[in-house]
Amino acid sequence: MAVNEAVKLRNNRLAQYYGMFTVGLIVFSLIMGALELGAGMPKAWIGWTFLMLTMGMYAFIGIMSRTKILDEYYVAGRNVPAVFNGMATGADWMSAASFISMAGTLYALGYDGLAYIMGWTGGYVLLALLFAPYIRKFGQYTIPDFVGARYGGRWPRLVAAICAIIVSLTYVTAQVVGVGIIMSRFIGVPYEWGVVIGLSGVLVCSFLGGMKAVTWTQVAQYIILIIAYMIPVTFLSLKLTGFPFPQLSYGQALQNITVLEKELKISSEAPARDGTGRIIQQGYVPAYNEGLSNAAAVTAINQINSYFGLNITPPKAQSIPDASKPADEIQTDWRGTPWNFLALTFCLMVGTAGLPHILIRFYTVPSVRESRLSVGWALFFIFLLYFTAPAYAAFARWEILQNVVGKEIKSLPEWTVNWSRLGLITQRDYTTLDGREIDKLPAWAAPQVRSGALVITDANGNGKIDLAGATFSETEVDGKKVGVFGELSGTAVTKTSTDGILQFGELNIDPDTIVLSTPEIAGLPYTVAALIAAGGLAAALSTADGLLVVISSAIAHDFYYRIINPKASMNTRIWLGKTMLVVAAVIAALLALPRLALIAQMVAWAFSMAASSFFPVVLLGIFWKRCNGPGAIAGMVGGLSVTLFYMYNNYLDPSFNVLGITHLAAGIFGMPINFLLCYIVSKLTAAPSQEIQDLVDHLRSPELDDELMTSIASGKQAAGAR
């Protein structure tokens, strides 16, 4: 009873601390808002104050939780209550991409984007039912620990550790890129400085206190990010619909979108049919409009070439369907079918359940019972944000269709002007080129000049494009229609592209803009924008923290302690862990500096890779006693190879596809291969030792059985040498 009393007391105290923190954050934001509106505090000051205060808070928690105890350093002392572990998992999970870019993806893809919403939440059901309680019962430090103990021997452990490092390193690099972008956009520091400042913030927490400090800062970071996410969209909903619950009111936005899209002829009144007679309905609400394209691969290769001075030939740009071809020549495509959507959802779900930085969070709760509950809380806290993201997207789409598309560029709302100055919104109407210097063309116009579709004749020789008083006319050259508009001419110059009105097709929006611009659309003060920046930073930093812990423990614990030197002292292990943390952070920063677009793509691939390598092996390890080491290795290698093969080929050439499934969902092919190989090879080779079978029994029942546990886990990898 005394123990329970103590736990209760501690939980109450934690709730009090974080309650005070939440109230403090709200009061602070209100004060800043008042200072801005009342005293005219400059924007840069507001941005810096928010930044310093939140980073200072993380550092404070980090210093308070500094530790030299192994259990605290690696698994937060295994005494994090379910609710708090849920919040920490939420922050760990939701990265800069979820916070800043998710709504933008939904804005662009409409229904098709919901694959991400469902995939990244539905995976937690698998995690709760199939993994979390057993991982907790196993109760070691890392995921390679589990693979090593269950499959016996150092090879499975080594393979698992390498996988964990590769996945986490790409992931953490993406977070660092996110940190740099947020810092540079809101504080105005150069991108590189943003990376350095942000990373030092990460290190302050994780270096001193490992998982313990990371956990308690993540809870604070969750509170900041969820408040920052909810406030602007709530006000926007209030402004547009008169109702302060965006999650319930954006149905109205969807209705308006459908009506406006018909008016603007973005979606067709009658559904169009493709070459094979399937029905395609274009627009925001109708499903399955996405085609296939290798544009991302072409961009990525060009970027790598120009950054590293290489000369890799990019593949020929292709898209299916090819819009440049006449309607009756368009290739058969898979639009209008649900296969890619279903495959992507499935890969994201299964991949979610296999990510090491999420799995290790379930080592940190006090018991199996708490671990089950903890997944519930984790999903609940994640759900709050994912439930709201489609509202952001719908309101933004509504606003843009209503007040931006089809309007004269000169009279667009002010927020679009601000964001197009930063290059996040592109308006591809030629009238916007008036007065521009010819050698400083915007990114959309330069390739047109290179390809010859746009010709600039500087008639008065002032080095600028002059379009004042120009009128559009058309001539025919070699049977092709060529437009002339002032000093511009070429096949790309048409009546609609020179009319000074922004058509839907002329508007390009960076996914980040949707969340970032909401405060301005809703007419909120800059303080709210600074709060969003703090929230985005919290999302990126918390994910980076969790990932760095995984990388450092894979090296210090799995490689060094488990494989090279099992006699290492506790102090050496902690010291090495901390050193590896810094090394991993520095490597991530170096990888992030080129700012390659490929990094974000790699994060998406990580899900398919986790789905086709880790997931089946961990699952069978718990649910099928007969599964053995050779089976697991064959499964992982085979599954991953098939996935990588499909991914590589489809990425470069979209005509390589099965049922229109893209490289992002390549895991759908590798995963069954993994299961199959694992089954066949396990059946053909000897059953695992009695000891391992006992371990599986031990995992399956929450009953306390410490003796067996220690005998198996304490360096008896020797048993696996068989």
């Binding site: 229904y111 539905g122 006090p366 199996v368």
Partner: protein, 93 residues
Amino acid sequence: MSDIETMSRQERINAYWKENNRLIAILLIIWFSVAYIPPLFVNQLNQISIAGFPLGYYFGSQFSLVVFVILIFYYAYAMNKLDAKYHLKDRDK
């Protein structure tokens, strides 16, 4: 449930495991039907609107998420009951 008292340790673990698996299977069937059946009929479902939400879109953006959350909490609740039924103690520090 007096026979649970007389079971051997191994029998108890096996019976507990069987019930656990049955529960997991049922919940996974619900999970699967909520996530993967509505997308097959999304354009038909979109013909119906509730509070402005086209039904097909609504299933993907809200309904399925709510079901996922409920499934996990229900599993935690049901497993606690199962632990008690089989007298399996849990480790609490």
